[in-house]
């Protein structure tokens, strides 16, 4: 199976201090990491590779520094890595990003399966997987918690209303995975060394992908940013631990949060 994993490098949220009183975010430590959702996408893919063998190609659109995220993907177990980077991508919005990624998938000769995170760890739009699937005319399954391969298909368990549904999708398909369902493995130390010393990341620009100005024109305009209103404080359960736990579970059951 040929699997392309879409990954994104994000600013490490642990280095950001949010001051709601000043409506400002301060960057204490500017460090870029492979986003946790991308790590989950890689993990879901590597489990398929472990189970039945697969060629795993990591793909990312980003600034040149995003090469580090791709090298981390190689260290974790990826077989090849491609960076889509061009100053012309700087203004890309979500639809443009999806088009660029889809063009790269096509240039790679398509895939049996494309895997992405349910959303990214920074902008959290949650649209890339679906948009890429539409652009490629692949089947799509989103918010996947369990993923297994079958001949010519994948079987996926996804969130469905208050519970889960297991579906089958014929290949080629796009799946987006839930971060919490695929805790990432650790990269082997030797693969970390080799990811920088031995292995390559291929970089493609807009021209390589055959994308012209029209294809890169964003639909969205940035008008500024503001803080969301503070979340209301929820109901507090007080009392002795045992009785409080009982009360909490009853309340959660009544609201169908837990079964």
């Amino acid at each position: 199976m040929k699997i392309i994993v879409l990954i994104k490098q994000i600013l490490d949220p642990a280095g950001i201090l949010v001051r709601r009183d000043k409506e400002k975010m301060f960057i204490n430590r500017e460090e870029y990491i492979l986003g946790p959702d991308s790590k989950a996408a890689l993990e879901a893919t590597l489990r398929l590779k472990d189970a039945g063998g697969a060629e795993v190609i990591a793909l990312s659109m980003g600034r040149p520094r995003a090469e580090d995220a791709l090298r981390e993907a190689l260290a974790l177990g990826g077989d090849a890595a491609y960076l889509l980077s061009d100053e012309a991508f700087d203004a890309a919005d979500i639809p443009v990003t999806a088009n660029v990624l889809a063009a790269a998938v096509q240039k790679l000769g398509g895939a049996d399966l494309v895997v992405a995170g349910r959303e990214s760890g920074d902008t959290s739009a949650g649209q890339i997987g679906s948009r890429v699937a539409e652009a490629l005319n692949y089947a799509q399954v989103t918010d996947v918690h369990v993923l297994t391969g079958e001949p010519g298909a994948i079987r996926a368990t996804r969130r469905w209303g208050g519970g889960y549904a297991t579906v089958q999708a014929m290949l080629p398909a796009v799946v987006t995975v839930a971060r919490e369902a695929f805790p990432a493995r650790y990269a082997h130390g030797a693969r970390i060394m080799n990811a920088y010393r031995e292995w390559q990341v291929t970089t493609w620009n807009a021209a390589d992908l055959g994308l012209d100005e029209a294809a890169l024109k964003p639909l969205l305009a940035f008008r500024g940013e503001s803080f969301p209103p503070p979340l209301p404080v929820g109901e507090q359960v007080k009392g002795a631990p045992a009785s409080a736990a009982h009360e909490l579970i009853t309340a959660l059951k009544l609201q169908k949060v837990i079964g």
């Binding site: 130390g189 990811a195 920088y196």
Partner: protein
């Protein structure tokens, strides 16, 4: 001068930090209480290449060099000194002695299983009458055909009871003394005649084992002579020289953890209506910690760079161990003070850190020995010999 870490080492640090936080930390308190080696952690570490960080990949190592190794030791030292000790004694002195002076064949046969973590290593130097005076060992090795027959006992051997391979220093010619009369051997611990005596009941690093190792007519093939015949003392001293840098790195991690813990606590703990971090008597202590930690960090990684670029490093490595262990002890001493009664409670990490820190001023050459090493290196160019 470029003081930045190579990118592969930056990523490696993130991996080890996650490993330490997620796999090592949950066991740290229990292994200290239960006085047991976290072998399950060793197994997980081996699967990630962490049992052979400094060694080349062709010997089953990770290829991270001394810099990578110091990074791992710092991160492990930040979370659990016991785990750092188990992996450190295995890598930094036991496997290191084979890497430094082993033949190609010995490296294939003994370093590869150690570096890949299939076997654990131990370093057999100390004896009851030979601690700081390492050349005073009494264990003997007598030639018998194609074998040497070892007799004697080693004490305070880290990993002694869990090791598959031990490098051992023994007297081969009592008339020749340290230089010429002592030979190093690689001993497979399943060799008949090798046994474990008592296990130490220690103040700290209780998640590591410290064993008495007894050699009773242990027959070792002559192919297992490590380094030049008669030059075993040098092989062992060279291994210790390098090991001191990474030992200092583990101390750096311990000091860093003490400071981080104090910052977290003093921002949360309120007295007189304000966080105690705003009290000068407290933040001065934390500022002093930060200054020493930063100086130590520069020292450790510069020394790692000296080792990786094959430059003289004996003096610097001795300073890493000497200064590192004392910085760690000072920081943790302050951490107990800052945490007050909580810092004295067995239920809290500070008390364990305080007990764990003390050994670093003692093992792998006491700090007094480090001062001798240092002074010898300072005065030697002037023709003045410092007696041990």
């Amino acid at each position: 001068m470029d003081f930045s870490f190579p990118k592969e080492h930056q990523l490696f640090r993130r991996m080890v930090r996650e490993f330490a936080e997620n796999e090592v930390k949950p066991l740290a308190k229990a292994v200290d209480r239960e006085h047991r080696v976290p072998l399950e952690t060793v197994k997980k570490a081996a699967a990630l290449g962490l049992m052979g960080v400094p060694f080349p990949q062709k010997y089953g190592g990770m290829g991270g060099g001394e810099m990578g190794y110091c990074i791992m030791m710092e991160e492990l030292g930040r979370i659990c000194t016991s785990t750092a000790t188990v992996i450190g004694a295995h890598t930094g002195i036991a496997a290191m002695s084979i890497y430094l002076d082993g033949t190609e064949e010995q490296k294939q046969k003994f370093l590869t299983p150690l570096a890949s973590g299939r076997l654990i290593g131990a370093f057999g130097l100390t004896e009851a009458q030979a601690g700081s005076d390492a050349a005073a060992i009494k264990t003997t090795a007598v030639r018998d055909g194609n074998h040497f027959v070892l007799n004697g006992a080693k004490v305070f051997i880290t990993n002694g009871d869990i090791a598959g391979i031990m490098t051992v220093m023994a007297v081969t010619d009592p008339s020749l003394g340290a230089y010429g009369g002592i030979t190093a051997f690689v001993v497979e611990t399943d060799t008949p005649g090798f046994s474990i005596g008592s296990l130490e009941n220690k103040m700290g690093i209780r998640g590591s084992s410290t064993a008495e190792c007894v050699f009773q007519d242990v027959r070792v093939p002559k192919e297992n002579v490590l380094g030049q015949f008669g030059a075993g003392f040098l092989t062992f001293m060279k291994s210790l020289d390098i090991g001191r840098a990474s030992l200092g790195a583990a101390c750096l991690g311990g000091a860093q953890a003490a400071m981080e813990g104090c910052m977290e606590w003093t921002m949360a703990r309120e007295q007189f209506g304000v966080p105690v971090a705003t009290k000068q008597s407290v933040y001065f202590m934390i500022a002093d910690m930060a200054a020493e930690i930063e100086a130590l960090r520069s020292l450790i990684y510069r020394t790692a760079w000296l080792i990786d670029t094959h430059q003289p490093h004996i003096k610097e490595a001795a300073i890493c161990k000497l200064y590192g262990s004392e910085v760690a002890s000072r920081c943790i001493h302050k951490a107990v003070q800052i945490h007050g009664a909580l810092g004295y409670s067995r239920d809290y990490w500070v008390e364990r850190a305080y007990r764990d820190a003390r050994i670093s001023e003692i093992f792998e050459g006491t700090n007094e020995i480090q001062r001798i090493v240092l002074a010898s290196n300072l005065f030697r160019p002037y023709g003045l010999r410092i007696p041990s």
